[in-house]
């Protein structure tokens, strides 16, 4: 059956970018307001799921040519390296550091190493969710 869903495809081209931006916002807002790596990763994977719904698996693989298992592994490696970096500075495992910096556009900003750990969580959640969904979707 030949279908032509113009409205869904045109809407997806706009809405998926908005979901990606919202996921990045929730990821960076996680330290002081609700959110964080887990919800941000789920939102990013839901944006990819919306792309999968509007288009098909082959097109989405052409848009995002990444292997999600590699993304999961990269997330775990980033988290473990961030957690074990404190050992080399004579602190206990999982100690997190922060300091205040004066960035050119943002002004006084506090940068934490917990953000790097959260980045690992984000990548793991995106990788695991998309691996599950793609494996089920490709099944016959």
């Amino acid at each position: 059956m030949k279908t032509n869903d113009v409205i869904l495809k045109t809407g997806t081209k706009v809405v998926s970018f908005m979901i990606f931006l919202f996921s990045i916002h929730i990821f960076f807002a996680g330290h002081y307001t609700p959110g964080g790596g887990f919800v941000g990763g789920l939102l990013a994977s839901s944006a990819i799921v919306l792309l999968l719904l509007a288009f098909d698996i082959k097109t989405v693989k052409k848009i995002l040519p990444v292997n999600y298992i590699t993304i999961t592994a990269a997330g775990i490696i980033i988290s473990i390296l961030t957690a074990s970096a404190a050992v080399f500075f004579n602190k206990s495992f999982f100690t997190h550091f922060f300091d205040y910096f004066h960035l050119p556009l943002l002004g006084k900003t506090s940068l934490h190493t917990a953000t790097l750990f959260d980045l690992g969580v984000y990548l793991v959640v995106v990788g695991v969710t998309m691996t599950i969904i793609q494996t089920i979707g490709e099944d016959e």
């Binding site: 059956m1 030949k2 032509n4 869904l8 919202f22 959110g35 839901s46 719904l53 698996i57 979707g137």
Partner: protein, 94 residues
């Protein structure tokens, strides 16, 4: 003034009872899908009214989140109803 929001909460909750009745009773599957979508919208408004009543701003991101999730769920359901499969493997129309 706060009683206005309590009244609106009760009204939206009554509307949700109606939607749940349509989900249970609905003769066809599309009736149930539309009722579930409307339930999501009513849930969004309940969260907004509740954040006014509780005087907190921490629920405002959940509103956007629920809107996104309800939209994706409805699109997935309607695609399943129309074609019988949610994710197509290969493109055959472009």
């Amino acid at each position: 003034m706060i009683y206005v929001f309590w009244g609106a909460l009760i009204a939206v909750a009554a509307a949700m009872v109606g939607f749940v009745y349509r989900v249970i009773k609905g003769p066809t599957i599309p009736d149930r899908v539309v009722a579930l979508d409307a339930l999501g919208v009513a849930l969004i408004s309940i969260i907004a009214l509740l954040s006014v009543v509780m005087k907190t701003q921490f629920f405002l991101e959940i509103i956007l989140l629920l809107g996104i999730l309800s939209f994706i769920g409805t699109v997935a359901f309607s695609k399943f109803i129309e074609r019988g499969e949610i994710f197509e493997r290969d493109d055959n129309n472009h």
